[in-house]
Symmetry: C2
Subunit: 129 residues, 2 copies
DNA sequence: CTTCCACCTTACCGCTAGGTCAGTACCTTA
DNA sequence: TAAGGTACTGACCTAGCGGTAAGGTGGAAG
């Protein structure tokens, strides 16, 4: 309802606001804020996981999207893939250093979304007041 | 290259991993991590802004998408819209309390993306080593 | 002998996010 | 008279995100 005109405690500011179109930041942002990218990153933030495990945890993802998302994140150096030449195949996915850095910022965001989703999406204002 | 098997300093964990498909969290997450949603939220985190100002700062956005994104964020109670009945029309957009909360988490994430984009997207590894 | 599982890949395809363009209403400046 | 700025809305269309389904490999289990 009432918007507060806050003094905007912005620690950093981008050029004269937001970054230019077509710059790499936009691309990277698209990768990490993609529908499944967030969930994979989030899931992996809890530790190394296998393909089938990720598939189960990122509920609703298709195998195609899982493969595609993992490949993108691996190319970006956020996820590391370790395949063992055993039968049946075993592949472990985990976050790289950069991936951990990122997940440290991503987790609170998703946590916030999780906490406020019900109130915001359905009209349920302050369930405890 | 080398992935570290970190002890995963996760402060909170979701159920048994990630949240279920079709729940409100997914919807909210889609809104705030949408291509333009992030940029609008980010831009508004620096204070109240007018339509045309947002249009300029979120470089590349179309009027249709600007309107649509603002409408979604307003419905979610993250952005407040104040229209003044003057000629020519003047409308000011700003973040609500919830919006500020969110931007506090979003800004560092985008900052990180901004800092690491060049290194990650183009192959430029450690430009200062 | 067939099925099933793990881990993918490729082919096909619908849907929709998002782009483009035109139009509206009113005032200002050239 | 005409062009331009402010804040939109709606029609139309396309690229590509993402879904569905099938294929492939090799062992183990029925």
């Amino acid at each position: 309802m009432e918007a507060i005109t806050r003094p905007l405690p912005l620690p950093m500011s981008f050029a004269d606001g937001v970054f230019p179109a077509g710059c790499p930041s936009r691309t990277l942002l698209d990768h990490i804020t993609s529908k499944w990218g967030v969930l994979i990153l989030l899931s992996l933030s809890e530790g190394e996981q296998r393909w089938s495990e990720l598939r189960r945890r990122a509920e609703g993802i298709s195998e195609k999207m899982l493969a595609q998302t993992l490949k993108t994140l691996e190319r970006d150096g956020l996820v590391s893939r370790k395949a063992q030449p055993v039968i049946p195949p075993r592949v472990d996915y985990s976050l790289t250093d950069k991936g951990y850095e990122l997940s440290g910022l991503l987790v609170p965001l998703v946590g916030w979304a999780f906490d406020n989703a019900d109130e915001i999406i359905n009209g349920k204002r302050s369930p405890l007041a």
